[in-house]
């Protein structure tokens, strides 16, 4: 198995605050890896470390075949960073923003013009190409931001909260774009607060909480950690009733029999599996109820 990112025991402290407290990460080539966590969990710090912007206090990492600390220039050549806040120049037009990136990638004038036009087309910005980026909608800015990172196709793309603040339609478009990039062979490290986003895009999810990875696995594996299933009954009068079970046939049958005995009859019943939200709350709940880190077991599963 080839990994595009292999980081081990990354730590980074800002004063007393330990933003990253021994993070291990492996990202398989060609996959989407989501780093999930509440605000302040260390997601952005981890992205900044892997994108060569912040030097870790300790730990080692190979990113896209280059040693992060010994050869940051090698890493920079293979990555592209899409920040939390679209890093486009509002005063320049979309085309000029792209042309600037092409020049910084040292394309010749002709090649730069060609690539710029191509990217405008791919990202649906041709009509707006000669308008200032400051006049773009949130979704268009994110697309331009993404396009600016695609002058040369990167091996690893960082999407740091790519859809924060976008309307549902723009979010949908950005997801489609992401899927297309993965099909082209780009590996993606996604950070997000939206569980739906991770559920939909990510092959592997790691939950980061207070600088430590507290769980990792596929969305299904993580949901299985919470376990159980809820029976949702839609009653004849239109009310719904939710009854927790452990998810086994035995328990579901017993629950239904008990409901029958109590005279509860429903024309419609469904089984609701835990959502990533449940997983998230379960794993990042503070203090006493915090579960043991479970990644040792899940590591074998992935």
């Amino acid at each position: 198995m080839t990994y595009t990112v292999e980081a081990s025991d990354i730590t980074k402290a800002f004063g007393e605050h330990r933003a990253l407290d021994g993070v291990d990460l492996q990202i398989e080539g060609g996959s989407v890896f989501a780093l999930l966590g509440p605000n302040g969990a260390g997601k952005t710090t981890m992205v900044r470390v892997l994108a060569t912007l912040t030097r870790p206090d300790s730990g080692t990492a190979m990113v896209a075949g280059h040693d992060l600390l010994a050869d940051p220039m090698g890493v920079k050549r293979q990555i592209s960073l899409t920040g939390q806040f679209a890093a486009v120049d509002d005063v320049l037009t979309g085309r000029e923003n792209l042309a600037l990136m092409a020049r910084l990638r040292r394309l010749s004038g002709r090649a730069a013009r060609g690539r710029t036009a191509e990217l405008l087309e791919t990202f649906g910005l041709t009509d707006a190409a000669d308008r200032r980026a400051g006049t773009y909608s949130g979704g268009m800015k994110r697309r331009l931001d993404l396009a600016m990172g695609m002058i040369e196709r990167p091996r690893l793309l960082f999407l740091d909260e790519p859809t924060t603040g976008l309307d549902p339609r723009s979010r949908e478009q950005l997801w489609d774009t992401t899927v297309r990039l993965v099909e082209e062979g780009v590996t993606i490290l996604l950070t997000t607060q939206y569980l739906e986003e991770a559920d939909r895009l990510a092959d592997t999810i790691a939950v980061l909480d207070r600088g430590r990875i507290v769980a990792r696995g596929t969305a299904e594996e993580l949901k299985a950690r919470v376990g159980g299933a809820t029976l949702r009954l839609r009653l004849a009068d239109g009310d719904t009733l939710e009854v927790p079970t452990d998810g086994s046939t035995d328990d579901i049958r017993r629950t239904l029999e008990r409901l029958d005995a109590e005279g509860v009859h429903a024309p419609d019943v469904s089984i609701v599996r835990p959502t990533l939200d449940d997983v998230f709350l379960h794993l990042t709940d503070d203090g006493a109820r915090r579960p043991e880190p479970i990644h040792a077991e899940l590591k074998e599963a992935i």
Partner: protein, 258 residues
């Protein structure tokens, strides 16, 4: 990082900064009109009272060049501070480019803007009767002084922009640079001022820089010191400001982006 790449990246970033200055209509308009308005104001409104016969325009040109460069530097500081507060810096630093190209780009654009302002002051001055007595060689030396001065003040502006952390804070720097030249020999000779101000005016950096230009263009300084002496002090000041600012800027840039 090969030097050719550093130069090419810095050129690309300077192009961006210049494009941005051309697209900011208010700042662009102010930068173009300020030198001319100030020149006309000083020569025609204050000039009659300030000058004892002779044409005031012959006195004032170097002071106006310095004043406009101060204004231009303020613009640069604000531009650097603005850039540091958005995602552009991270984007550029995550790319395989010369990291400081962002800073060098701002400084180069600042140089270009200040040169345009200088040319405007000189051209407008000549139009309304400025009569420099300088030889071609003196002209060259005077322009050399201008170039050294605006390079120093542009790096100073970049350092201040990095230090400021916000565009608003950087704006305060413009105010300082716009007013300190008034307490120099820019508009009136130092010996007309009260003792305390006179001492400040004589020894602050703007004075030898202004007197060097004045001496080269008009043949004599307002302080009575030989132009060679003023030039030596001016060069020491400029090189010191340049070295300290460039060093501070490089260091601050690493710290702010690390």
């Amino acid at each position: 990082m090969p030097l050719a790449h550093a130069i090419s990246d810095s050129r690309a970033m300077a192009g961006r900064c210049l494009r941005r200055s051309l697209r900011d209509p208010e700042a662009f308009f102010t930068a173009l009109t300020l030198p001319i308005v100030l020149l006309l104001l000083f020569v025609y409104v204050f000039g009659g009272a300030l000058s004892d016969g002779g044409s005031y325009v012959n006195y004032i040109v170097p002071g106006l060049i310095v004043l406009c460069a101060g204004f231009g530097a303020g613009t640069t500081a604000v531009a650097v501070a603005t850039d540091m507060s958005n995602g552009i810096v991270d984007r550029v630093r995550s790319m395989p480019v010369f990291g400081s190209s962002l800073l060098v780009g701002h400084v180069v654009a600042s140089l270009a803007r200040n040169l345009v302002a200088t040319v405007l002051v000189v051209a407008a001055g000549l139009l309304i009767g400025w009569h420099p007595t300088a030889s071609a060689l003196d002209w060259l030396a005077a322009m050399g002084m201008v170039l050294l001065f605006i390079t120093a003040i542009s790096w100073l502006a970049a350092a201040v922009g990095l230090l400021a952390r916000s565009a608003e804070a950087a704006t305060a720097f413009t105010m300082v640079l716009m007013f300190v030249p008034y307490v120099s020999t820019a508009f009136v000779p130092a010996d007309t001022m009260p003792a305390a101000l006179e001492a400040f005016a004589k020894y602050q950096p703007f004075t030898p820089i202004i007197e060097t230009m004045r001496g080269l263009w008009m043949g004599s300084t307002s302080t009575g010191a030989p132009v060679g002496r003023e030039a030596a002090i001016a060069v020491v000041y400029c090189v010191a400001i340049l070295a300290a600012s460039a060093f501070a800027a490089a260091r601050l840039f690493r710290e702010r982006t690390g």
